[in-house]
Structures are given as C-alpha cells and as structure tokens.
C-alpha cells in the first residue's frame, strides 16, 4: 500500500511538474503578447508622440494634408457613443434577462435565447448596412424631428437632422451590445440559488421585491460583468459605427451632429496613410484606444469592487 502510494507520487510529481510548466508558459505567452503589443505600438507611435506631445490629446484638428493631428474629438466620440449605447442597452438587456429568468413561462425562454444568440452572431457590417439604409432614414424623418420639437430646448437635441451621427452610432451600438448583456445576465440570474427567492417570498415579499432585493442584489457583480463585456465591445466596435456616425472629427453637444471614434479613424485611414508621421499618428490613436480601454475597465472594476464591498458590509 505504501509502495503504491509512493510510486503514484513520483509519477504524479513528474507529470504535475511538466503540466505546471506548460500552463505557466501558456499564461506567460499572453503576457508577452500584450507587452509586445504595447512596446511595438509605443515605438511606432513615437514620431507622433515627439511631434505633438500632449497636444495630441487636447486639440481637435485632424489634417492629414498639413500633417497636424489632434485626437480629442476621437476620444470624445468613442466615450460618448459607448456611454450612450450602455444607457440604452443596460436597462433593456437586464430587463429582458430578468423577464427570461424570473417571470417568463418556461417554454418561451429557449426560442428567445436562440434568437439572442443569433443576434450576437450577426457580423457588424450587416448592422452597419442596416444602419445606413433603415435606421438613419428613420431617425432623420421621424425620430429626430420629433425629438427636436419636444426636447429641442436641450442642446442635446439641436441642429439639422442628418440621420447619421452620434445618436445613430449610440443606437446601433446598443442593439449590438444588448444580446451580450442579455445572454450573460440571464446566466448570472439563473445561477442565483433558489433559496434566496424562497426566503424572500417566505417573508412576504412581492415578486418585484423578491427580484430586486433577493435576486438582483445577489447577482450584482455578475451583472456588472455583463455590462463590462458590453462596454468593451462598444468601445472597440469599428465597422458598424463607422458606417453611421458621420465620421466628422468635431466635438458637438448635440447628439444629432456627426462624430468620430478612435476605432473608426484607424479603420478609415490606415490603408491609405502614406507618410510616416501620418501613420505614426494613427498608431498613436490605437495606443490611446488601448489606454482608454484599460482605464475604463479599471474604473468599472473599481466600481464592482466598491459595490461588492458595500454588499458585504450590509450582510455583516
């Protein structure tokens, strides 16, 4: 018996050792790739960083002919379109997920889940074409005139209705992001133990109270993860946004006005950028997108962490 255990440990030790080495290498490769990416981008962006310094972040002129580059409208457009998308997609996505997991009769869930997965698999260029030919004309003829007439006193809804612009970009991003938020949120909500619900119901809570207090609060950090996934997707989305945002590097308070995002700028201009400084400026935009993504994700994680802390405090 002892011998057997011994021999097992020897083989196990050898196999485990090899296995540990290999998975460590797998994890390290990821680190090397990310580091390599950052180093290459910084090196390639260096001519632009040297030429423009901090003004790259705070000026608005993007002029490839004169080789003067400022990325502020791109940063603004990326963040505003993503925030707009989340403002629409989060209530919609989490609402739908709550319906599917808490309220819907069991037979309705599978077909809807199937449709959601289908939506998530639609290529973004298809969303973009739909955006140009259906969404933008509808916004221009129906939605924007109505918004202008009722809420036109807000600077958000002023200016001529072009159809394409920040509003169209936010909407199309919201539509693209919703399936992800629903799919992940639904899984998270289904993972909430039934004991939670039963306990709340036993205390006399209504269905709404049960959902709010026992289910949503329990699933908070998981739901936050779903939102983060959506945020990541909308920050980096390129094709569909490019097709409907109007591609004008300008900052405007109005959601009707055209804008520009960092990912769109790279996709639009990289192929035909011939001069070294121009190319370098575009790579700096890529670097900036990376930095913005890291910052936004870190902020969101901080939020999750602080919310998680609060929940813990309440429980204690």
């Amino acid at each position: 018996m002892r011998r057997l255990a011994h021999s097992t440990r020897v083989t196990g030790g050898w196999g485990d050792h090899l296995f540990r080495l290999l998975i460590r290498a797998a994890a390290l490769i990821l680190l090397v790739i990310v580091l390599g990416l950052v180093i290459v981008m910084i090196r390639a962006a260096f001519p632009s960083i040297r030429a423009f310094g901090w003004s790259f972040l705070f000026t608005s002129r993007w002029d490839p002919v004169a080789e003067k580059f400022g990325a502020l409208p791109l940063i603004y457009g990326t963040i505003v379109s993503s925030v707009l998308a989340l403002l629409i997609a989060v209530p919609l996505g989490i609402g739908a997920a709550v319906y599917l997991s808490e309220v819907a009769p069991p037979w309705i869930s599978p077909p809807i889940s199937f449709l959601i997965e289908l939506l998530a698999a639609v290529p973004s260029v298809v969303y973009g074409l739909w955006g140009i030919f259906i969404l933008a004309p509808w916004l221009r003829t129906q939605v924007q005139p109505a918004l202008g007439a009722t809420l036109g006193f807000l600077p958000l809804f002023q200016g001529p209705p072009y159809g394409v612009g920040m509003l169209a970009a936010g909407l199309i991003l919201a539509i693209m992001v919703v399936p992800f938020i629903i799919a992940v949120s639904r899984e998270v909500l289904l993972a909430v133990p039934n004991a939670q619900r039963e306990a709340a119901l036993a205390l006399g809570a209504t269905r709404w109270e049960t959902t709010r207090l026992a289910v949503l609060r329990y699933a908070r950090s998981g739901l936050m993860g779903a939102v983060l996934l959506g945020l990541g997707r909308s920050l980096g989305e390129t094709m569909a946004v490019t097709m409907v945002i109007g591609n004008r590097p300008e900052i405007s308070a109005s959601l009707f006005a055209p804008g520009y995002t960092m990912a769109s700028m790279i996709a639009n201009e990289f192929a035909e950028a011939t001069s070294d400084l121009y190319l370098s400026a575009l790579i700096e935009v890529g670097l900036l997108l990376f930095v913005v993504t890291v910052i936004v994700n870190a902020l969101a994680r901080l939020l999750v962490w602080s919310v998680g802390g609060a929940v813990k405090a309440v429980r204690e």
Binding site: A5, T8, R9, T11, G12, G15, D16, L18, F19, L22, I23, A26, R61, W62, D63, P64, V65, A66, G128, L129, I132, F133, A136, P137, R140, P160, Y162, G163, V164, T242, M243, G246, N247, R248, P258, S264, A267, N268, E269, F270, A271, E272, A273, T274, L279
Partner: protein, 359 residues
C-alpha cells in the same frame, strides 16, 4: 490520486502537441510549385480589372500566377518600397520624398483610367450642370442652398428647391478622394490653401461615408445631399451624375469616352515618369475629374526570370488587356499614351540589360 496522473499527462502531451503543431506550421516550407508566383499589393480601385487580367493572363502565360492583395494605395507604396512584393499599385503618384527613399528607381506604369463624378439627391432627379467654382464653393461650405443664384445661373430651366445642401464625402482614405480634392485644389486657390489634396483631408463641411457604397447610400437616403463616387460605381447603380464644365468651357458628361479624352488631352505634355495629374486637362471633350491608376515596378529587376515575366505582363496589359476595360467600366488608355508607356516598359532591366526584347 492515481487517476489524476494520466489526466495531467494527457493534457501535457496535448499542449506539447499543440505547440509542435504551431511550430511546424510556422516553419514548414511553402508548397513547391513549378508556377512562378508574382506578388503585388495596393490600390482597391483597379482591383476588379486587375483580377480579370490575372485570370486572363494565365491563358497567355501559364507559368505565372498572380497574387494581388488590394490593401490600399498606401500599403502598395510601402510594400514596394520595402521590396516585400514584386509590384505595387497606387491611385496616387508617389511623392518625390518617397521616390528618393526607395531602395531603387521606381517606374510608374499607367494601366487604366478612372473618373470621379458628383452625384446628388434632389426631388425629380433633375440633370444638373456644375462649374468648377460651384463645386469648390459647395465643398468649402460657402454655397449652402440648392436655390443659390449661382447654381440657378448654370442650370436654367431646372427647378431647384430651397433646401440646405448636405455635403457627403468619403471617410476612408481613398484614391477617389485624392482625385476629387486634386481637382478642387487645381480650380480653387482657397481650396488649395485651406484643404489641399490627399487621400484623406480635413473637410470644411460634410458627413463622411465609408466607401463608394457608404457615400452613395447616404446621398440616396438624404434629400438635398451631394457626394462624389467613382464613375463605374455611379454607372452600375444608375446614380444621377452631373455634367461639369471643363477647361475648354464645355459641359461634359462623365463617361468612359470623356475620361479617355482627358488622358489624350494630357498626352502632349506627358512627363516621362507619368506622375501626372489628369484633373482639369485641356481638350474639348475631356471630362475634368479623371486620373490614371499606376503599377509601381523597379526599373532594375532583382530576378531575371521573374522580371521578364513581369515586363511581358505589363506589355500585355497596356495592349491586349485594354479590351477588358469597357465591360468593367474603366476607361482604356488612349493610343498616344500607350506608345509612351511602351518606351517606358522597354527601359526595365535586369543588371542593366533590358528585359524586353526589341519588338
């Protein structure tokens, strides 16, 4: 415990196998083939005619196979400068600075012609005429209404609505934009100083649409919009296209014939390196917003056999290849220019010796 051993071993072996696979794929030599592979990259605009040529040319010379990646003119210029491809392709000529930086002397070989047309969306689809000043003022944002007296003056009899003009331009860097802005810069001092010419520029006004289809889509769905697209794209999709007054003072409809006429008009003063802008050319019938598209090849070829195959292809393209242009809505080279290019192709050498036998 015991059952864990095989599991971890299996996983290890699987991971090692995967690593092995990656390494083999990474270092395996490419498939050996008797066919010679000619690599090229560059412009997207001539891609349809180039791929047609490459298909047809296999019948002429079965020993060459072409691999063309249409990644854009910028990429074409970069890759030929780095000698990672056998030929490049570009819709805009290389700059002097780029030519001096290149490791060898590069030739621009014109292959076909393209034209850019203004298209618009007005009720009743009227046939419009523009002068160069009007186009420049509209795209500078100085003429903002369709019923502006200056537009009305050149379009007598057309009912122009009291609508704002919405300018639509390409958002992606493109040869089409280069030709359009090159024309505007030639005809308007203010455009040249404020905006200039390039594959992407800092537009004074307007919305950006991605690709010809993005511009056309936005124009189609926005009453009062005006944009610019390639002639081939406008013809295929039956978009309204305006006639433009050329240097000779005649209003000329964009067409394949009037595009070829633009190159014929420029033939007299053709520079020997063909780096010429054909916009606003002389000539009664010349459509003024036209351009060559070029293949970029080294004057001195690094390989004898490959170089020979390349010059034979170039010769074929500017002669027999031209007959495929009309189906694909490109304008063929005028005969005066073909003979000028012939002389250029004959100058391509391998170690100083001409590759093309005297014809």
């Amino acid at each position: 415990m015991r059952s864990n051993v095989p599991a971890s071993l299996i996983l290890s072996v699987a991971l090692l196998g995967l690593a092995g696979l990656v390494l083999t794929v990474g270092f395996a030599p490419g498939p050996v083939s008797a066919q010679m592979l000619m690599n090229g990259t560059g412009a997207t605009f001539p891609y349809p005619i180039y791929s047609k040529w490459f298909d047809e040319y296999i019948k002429v010379d079965p020993s060459v196979r072409f691999n063309y990646q249409s990644i854009g003119s910028g990429g074409g210029i970069r890759q030929i400068m780095e000698r990672t491809v056998d030929f490049g392709a570009s819709d805009g000529p290389m700059t002097d600075e780029q030519l001096t930086k290149a490791p060898g002397e590069l030739f621009h070989i014109p292959t076909v012609l393209g034209a850019v047309v203004p298209t618009y969306n007005l009720p009743g689809d009227p046939k419009l005429r523009f002068t160069s000043d009007l186009l420049a003022e509209i795209f500078l944002g100085k003429i903002t209404k369709w019923n502006d007296p200056r537009i009305v003056a050149v379009n007598p009899g057309v009912a122009l609505p009291d609508r704002p003009i919405i300018v639509v331009h390409r958002s992606d860097g493109s040869g089409t934009t280069y030709i359009w802005t090159d024309y505007l810069a030639k005809v308007s001092k203010e455009w040249e100083q404020r905006v200039g010419r390039g594959t992407s520029v800092n537009w004074p006004v307007g919305l950006g649409g991605k690709g010809n289809e993005g511009v056309a889509g936005q124009v189609k769905s926005t009453p009062g919009a005006i944009g610019y697209v390639e002639l081939a794209y406008a013809t295929k999709n039956n978009l309204p296209a305006a006639a433009i007054r050329n240097q000779a003072g005649k209003f000329v409809e964009p067409s394949i014939q009037s595009t070829t006429a633009a190159a014929a008009g420029a033939a007299k003063n053709m520079p020997s390196d063909f780096r010429v802008s054909l916009t606003n050319p002389p000539g009664e019938d010349a459509y003024p917003i036209a351009s060559f598209t070029w293949l970029l090849v080294y004057k001195d070829q690094p390989h004898q056999v490959k170089g020979q195959a390349l010059v034979k292809f170039l010769w074929w393209a500017i002669h027999d290849g031209q007959k495929y242009t009309s189906n694909l809505l490109y304008a063929p080279l005028p005969s005066q220019v073909v003979s000028q290019i012939e002389a250029k192709v004959k100058q391509i050498t391998y170690q100083g010796k001409p590759l093309l036998a005297a014809r």
